[in-house]
Symmetry: C2
Subunit: 531 residues, 2 copies
């Protein structure tokens, strides 16, 4: 759209004035979509500008007042729709901003994004070769490439793109159960031996969730102790397996994690594989991308999420099963009306019956295009660059006053740390911990208010709230890591000043008539911590 008049003209049109409803208005259709693309491109440029905020935070009630989200009775015109989009972007979190470090998807890979634009435009369902010939072949090629990286021979296993890693874990557990007890698919689990599964106490909660959905039960998914670095202790696994067997349970599934959610720890795959072999258990690995993970090739199944470290646009997850045809056998419902056997091509290319879903989204294209843009080498380079940044950040944390590592030796890209404001550094551990559990979320809250950067926080079983940094944003540089540290220091200082001021007022709190009861209560609480 070059001139204002044209923009206005397009803005006054309605969706029904464009393709496919109105074939006359080819130019208008083109101008609208070009304008829309231009609008998104501007967003990308703004997002990459460090002078702009990561977010413009508002409480839910406030945001609800600012936004008009209602579906109207009558259509809105294109100008109004663009205005709506503008508002949505204004109040959204810029997950591609170089200083966005919050969990899960960080950074915006432009090529993967372009791939996703194309995916939306062709709107293809992945369930038969008939309607998705190219994407089905592409999926096969990418799955083979990934299996090769895992260390499996071609045709040794099978794989599928799943809607997220949790569903991939569900696929794996379900296949493992079918492998051991094929009759459960038809007869169900009632009156069957009590199956049980094992996963480290630091593994992702989706393994427990899969046990719940499958009818195995979360109580029969036993958490295995981890060492101080968050890695599963193999001897504890073996003990637990033996204990379960003695109690009449039927162990069938072990999940190892290669890159835990919090600490980025790697369970000892080979030792766990040995135990699985010894007891005849299914060995599943929930994995982050990393070249050459020794022992991974011994897994019976693997969950691998290219939408994480590899940077593919959400959603992009895969599940691999090292048993040819098991994926099909496990999920096949043989719906004749979808998967006719008398088609004009080799129907083994129809993947629909391998999936738990029927219609399946095309999640492969954006990964394929992105991977081609980097080559195998580019991905190694990307991960190495992250590793360098993680090392840099770890050193910085270790050498900056007031910062403490939670796990002093991070294995991968997760760096967990505390910021301990000066005024409380001298306190006893217990008091310090009690304060940190409140200070960390407060710093995060202020960070969101400022909107300058974002990083996750959490606690674990033994330790109070700490920051969990994950290096996985392609836009991030060393300067951005320095910025995060400075920002935390700056917020932390102000925060303690504020707290202390409140404490000084302690005597006045009870008698001050200008304070609400709630405020009094909260201030007394703060004062108590400091007393």
């Amino acid at each position: 759209m070059n001139c204002e008049a044209e923009e206005k003209k397009i803005g006054n049109l309605y969706a029904t004035d464009l393709l496919p409803q109105n074939l006359e208005n080819l130019d208008e259709t083109r101008l609208f979509l070009q304008g829309f693309a231009q609008f998104l491109i501007q967003y990308i440029q703004d997002e990459n500008n460090r002078d702009n905020k990561v977010l413009d935070f508002h409480q839910p009630s406030e945001l609800l007042r600012k936004l008009d989200l209602k579906i109207p009775e009558n259509p809105m015109n294109l100008g109004q729709l663009l205005q709506s989009c503008n508002e949505v972007l204004k109040y959204g979190v810029k997950t591609g901003h170089p200083r966005y470090f919050n969990q899960i998807s960080c950074g915006l890979d432009l090529i993967s994004m372009a791939g996703e634009w194309l995916t939306a435009t062709v709107n293809t369902n992945m369930f038969t070769y008939e309607i998705a010939p190219v994407f089905i072949l592409m999926e096969q090629e990418i799955l083979r490439t990934m299996m090769n990286l895992i260390g499996w021979k071609p045709h040794e296993g099978d794989g599928i793109f799943t809607p997220g890693g949790s569903i991939a874990n569900l696929y794996a557990m379900n296949a493992a159960r079918y492998y051991g007890f094929p009759q459960i698919k038809t007869s169900g689990m009632s009156f069957m031996p009590k199956l049980c599964a094992f996963t480290s106490e630091d593994s992702h909660y989706s393994i427990k969730s899969a046990a719940a959905v499958c009818g195995i039960g979360t109580d029969n998914c036993f958490p295995i102790k981890t060492d101080e670095y968050g890695r599963m202790v193999p001897s504890a696994l073996e003990q637990e397996i033996m204990r379960c067997k003695k109690e009449g349970l039927h162990p069938f599934f072990v999940c190892a994690t290669a890159g835990t959610t919090v600490y980025g720890a790697f369970d000892p795959l080979n030792r766990i594989a040995d135990i699985c072999e010894k007891y005849g258990l299914w060995f599943h690995v929930d994995v982050k991308y990393r070249d050459k993970l020794s022992g991974i090739e011994r897994a019976n199944s693997i969950t691998w999420n290219p939408h994480k470290l590899m940077g593919a646009i959400l959603q992009c997850s895969t599940c691999f099963i090292r048993h040819k045809d098991l994926l099909l056998k496990t999920n096949q419902m043989s719906a004749d009306y979808l998967f006719q056997q008398d088609k004009c091509y080799d129907v083994r290319y129809d993947t629909g019956d391998k999936a738990m879903q029927c219609g399946r989204r095309n999640d492969v294209f954006k990964l394929w295009l992105m991977w081609r843009s980097k080559g195998m080498d580019g991905f190694r380079h990307q991960i190495n660059r992250y590793m360098d940044l993680a090392k840099y950040f770890t050193n910085k944390i270790k050498n900056t006053k007031g910062f403490e590592m939670v796990n002093p030796h991070p294995e991968f890209l997760n760096i967990c740390f505390w910021y301990v404001p000066e005024s409380i550094r001298c306190l006893k551990l217990e008091k310090k911990y009690s304060l940190l559990s409140k200070i960390t979320p407060k710093i995060k809250a202020k960070m969101m208010e400022r909107g300058t950067t974002m990083v996750s926080y959490q606690q674990d079983k033994h330790r109070p709230n700490f920051f969990r940094m994950i290096i996985s944003n392609q836009a991030t540089t060393r300067d951005d890591l320095d910025f995060l540290i400075e920002e935390i220091i700056s917020i932390g200082k102000g925060l303690v000043m504020e707290l202390l001021e409140n404490v000084e007022d302690k005597e006045n709190i009870q008698t001050n008539e200008n304070l609400t009861e709630k405020r009094k209560c909260s201030l007394l609480n703060v004062a108590q911590i400091f007393s």
Copy 2:
């Protein structure tokens, strides 16, 4: 990209030359993305041009020779990537073509597509308010709007966007089980009463699939007889429930379908609801969009796929549960590290713990934007227009020589029919059926070869292969429906000529030295049918 030189310059760049890696190259980034958008816009224009084919069909082995799908060791430049995209589009099926009538997603809603472009660009994970403030509120608003259409009061129920309708059905069955037997979530199903579920024999296979995944077993998911129009027979349901109870099974779940996959039949919701109430069973409805479905408001849970008739870009499915908090209680795993309770906002807005998935794709935005572009009224109009087209097509089928309705009174937008070539119209039913079972797939195969149009075919329990037309493409006009009919006649004529020619040769087949054994066999087969 205005001139060739500029295009070439951009084409020689690599992904790493653009944002976010290279902040210098803002112009180049913009030009690349604009060019990419232009390329997609051209695709849309071509797709809407009826002179262009719906597909350029090739057998898998042939297509593999034509395409280069490999991931290279080194990066490909932007020009090469665009060339890759070009190939992908060339051999793909144009699901938005006005004459594409094959199953599932037909047509391309441009506004929903633009919404999906934005979704890819902002790349937001839906699991907390913290990282998806706008989309979380939007999801709530849309779910409320949909619940209102269902006929539930605000806050009477809860809902969630799921990756496809099959997973939505799994959500529903899992919630129903939790409702009746909350202890299964923790203890599993072993040594529990044998749960059983009921669904019509014409319902979608994902109900059976859900029973398999849940550990209930497909054999305990009983198919209920349908009438001649494909609607569940309520008395048969009641009989089956009583029989199961007598045999010691524990009925807990009934699925009614409002718009079956094949015939578009509507199960009698109120009568099924009565039976569910009488026996205390969970009442689930798997629904297509339609205003005012009497009895739907009595459902305990509902699956509703806006990516079907409403036309949202894949994937866009929802599951509704008419029990406040049940969705949360069923799926909650209380992962402290993701769903901290001490955040700076009301954490009830975090939806992550309601989902089986952890990371969850943003599937709401494209629906929201599309819905705004139409208004409530626009959707009614769209469905009414489809109904008119379905009526037109039904009449045309009934009044065109050689066509026969499979179900003479379609309730909704599915029209199932045969094309019976002239030369076989006089045959006895059994012989005719035997021929139709071969002729229908042959017509479909020729159709794909010609690439002019696409429509699904299938058989059912009693009837040989027939065409299943579903009117759900916004681009389709009456002329396109006429075209389909003419195309089938034209293909059918040619096909029978071919068959007959072969038959005339019957005597020569056995002795003809130029024919391969396979060809002889196939010709004799054809000849036999005609004899």
